[in-house]
């Protein structure tokens, strides 16, 4: 199963590379957009030395976590974003007529090219800032990898949850919810202490982007205790199960009302 998943992804990369100009453009745009968003903390910190006890490098580490999770999600699970279109065009019927888990088929479908560069930006910057913060030792690296894994699963689950709405509210193959969710996630790239309690709760438990990037950095810098990483793992497992349940409910709904 994993072999076929990876071989499908390899096929998609091959296909994308056939259009060389587009390939490089997409890569470049991914890198640019992320580098620009890294410029914001740079500007802020050149005027203010300290935000709620957070250093500049720690903010960059938050961004690195976010980029890696987003990038991996986009490369590996782009199919989730194409699902509403498939449902609308009736292509979902083909998925349901194969003896393979519909979730696997959705996840293995397609590939987000920009994701590669977003991932690369994150993957390059993370070790740099880990080193600057003195965290580039074996414990820090193992911990970071584990947190990245959890964050990617969590990110995928949020997308899946948002896009599964299409089974109930099909508005021409688009629904606003997943975009809203991913926009909300953009607020989780700063220390949560900056926000009032309600927003903090929202970013941690309703749209748990906080667990993708902020909480991992808090664990690494030691502002929360290390067992919190179990909380991160629990959160991502829980959200994955929730998203999968909603997805399955959605399919059942589709089966009973679909045209």
């Amino acid at each position: 199963m994993i072999r076929i998943f990876l071989s499908m992804k390899a096929q998609y990369i091959k296909t994308e590379m056939e259009y060389a100009a587009n390939f490089w453009m997409m890569l470049l745009s991914g890198v640019l957009s992320r580098v620009v968003s890294m410029a914001a903390p740079f500007v802020i910190y050149s005027n203010i030395p300290d935000i709620a006890g957070w250093q500049k490098d720690e903010i960059y580490l938050i961004l690195s976590f976010l980029f890696i999770a987003e990038g991996l999600c986009s490369v590996l699970f782009e199919g989730i974003w194409q699902m509403p279109g498939m449902v609308f065009a009736g292509e979902f019927d083909c998925i349901l007529s194969r003896p393979v888990s519909p979730l696997f088929q959705v996840l293995s479908y397609g590939m987000g090219l920009q994701g590669i560069s977003v991932f690369l930006v994150g993957a390059v910057s993370m070790p740099v800032f880990l080193r600057r913060l003195g965290l580039l030792h074996s414990w820090g690296v193992v911990m970071s990898l584990f947190l990245i894994l959890c964050g990617t699963v969590l990110c995928m689950s949020i997308y899946l949850l948002g896009n599964s709405v299409v089974f109930w509210f099909d508005a021409g193959g688009r629904t606003a919810l997943p975009y809203t969710l991913s926009q909300l996630g953009q607020y989780a790239r700063y220390p949560l202490e900056l926000y009032p309690g309600v927003v903090r709760f929202l970013l941690l438990f309703l749209v748990p982007y906080g667990f993708i990037c902020v909480v991992p950095v808090e664990i690494l810098r030691g502002s929360v205790a290390w067992p919190w990483c179990l909380g991160v793992a629990g959160m991502s497992a829980g959200f994955f199960l929730l998203a999968r349940a909603v997805f399955c409910r959605g399919i059942r709904h589709y089966e009973s009302v679909g045209m």
Binding site: D93, C94, E255, M259
Partner: protein, 326 residues
């Protein structure tokens, strides 16, 4: 193999008022309407047969197919395929059937056809021997060799359909559901696909359930037919009987010298003279074929004679015009 009893499917459709105002009103108060797609359908199909489902647009054909695949749940009634409910058969059931929707593709659109075939091999967990055998066969019979390295989205409609039909045979399905498999194709491709389907049906005993607008499809592929109209079953039997039941006129075409005037023997028939060829169109209710043949042999020095088979196009248009309901 397939058994449907009192099958019924009702959709809930959002009923919108026309115009922007209507669309706006719908945001706050949606009105729902019940739409009956399939209404009390009962029929059977036996192992290895090829059954055609004929009906106008919106007659409920696609809904019926989707219920048989297990994509849709019937509102009422019962459907059994291989003796079990498709909704409960799960992956074991899906492995035994094959599905082709003429307007959608089962191929992965961005990757070469051969990669899609390989994906099927892995996803269906086919063993190498069986896969090879089926693969070689479809590639040969459907002339797929030149298409294999091309991504599906770059194929023409006819090529894509051939690749799609080939793919559905890779896992040796026992029963095929084909929803309008030749829609929009040119005559050569249609012919290739029909011949192939017929051959597979005869050689491997794969059952075929086919819906089509193209009545030649039905004629060339199927033995049996059901006819749907407004979700109801209006005919269930062999294709031959269907043709004969709805045929009112038949035609005999004679070439040869006329020795006596045939009009006096068959006053109710229309006689059309086209040089040496005479066409005799006679109502089947008035004359039997034997009577007509006797009259013809009495009047002509026959060089050649053909009896025209009734045309299925005409038959179906009669059915839907509401003539001679069953």
């Amino acid at each position: 193999m397939i058994e449907a009893r009192e099958l019924r499917k009702v959709y809930k459709v959002n009923h919108k008022q026309p115009g922007l105002k209507g669309a706006f009103a719908n945001l706050f108060h949606a009105e729902w309407e019940q739409k009956v797609a399939v209404d009390g359908l009962s029929f059977q199909m036996e192992q290895g047969r090829a059954l055609a489902c004929i009906g106008e647009n919106g007659a409920g054909k696609s809904t019926l197919i989707k219920m048989m695949i297990g994509i849709l749940t019937p509102t009422a009634g019962e459907i059994r395929v291989f003796g079990t409910d498709p909704r409960r058969g799960g992956r074991g059931y899906l492995r035994r059937i094959g599905v082709v929707f003429g307007q959608k593709t089962n191929l992965w659109t961005d990757i070469p056809v051969i990669e899609s075939y390989q994906a099927v091999k892995t996803l269906y967990r086919l063993d190498e021997g069986m896969f090879r055998k089926n693969y070689d066969r479809v590639v040969e019979l459907l002339a797929l060799q030149p298409l294999l390295s091309v991504p599906a989205r770059k194929l023409s409609l006819g090529q894509r359909m051939r690749a799609d039909i080939g793919m559905v045979f890779l896992h040796s399905p026992e029963l095929l559901f084909l929803d309008e498999p030749t829609i929009g194709l040119d005559i050569n491709v249609k012919h290739t696909i029909r011949t192939f389907l017929r051959q597979m049906n005869e050689e491997t005993g794969t059952g075929i359930f086919l819906t089509s607008h193209d009545l030649d499809d039905i004629d060339e592929i199927c033995d049996d037919a059901i006819v749907l109209s407004g979700g109801r079953l209006i005919y269930d039997g062999t294709l031959d009987q269907l043709k004969h039941r709805f045929v009112q006129d038949k035609m005999i075409q004679v070439t040869g010298k006329q020795e006596r005037d045939i009009r006096s023997l068959l006053p109710l028939a229309r006689i059309i003279m086209e040089g040496r060829v005479v066409k005799i169109v006679y109502p089947v209710r008035e004359y039997s074929s034997a009577e007509v043949l006797a009259a013809v042999s009495g009047c002509f020095a026959i060089e050649d004679i053909t009896i025209e088979e009734p045309d299925i196009d005409e038959v179906v248009s009669r059915i839907f015009a509401g003539e001679g309901m069953l």
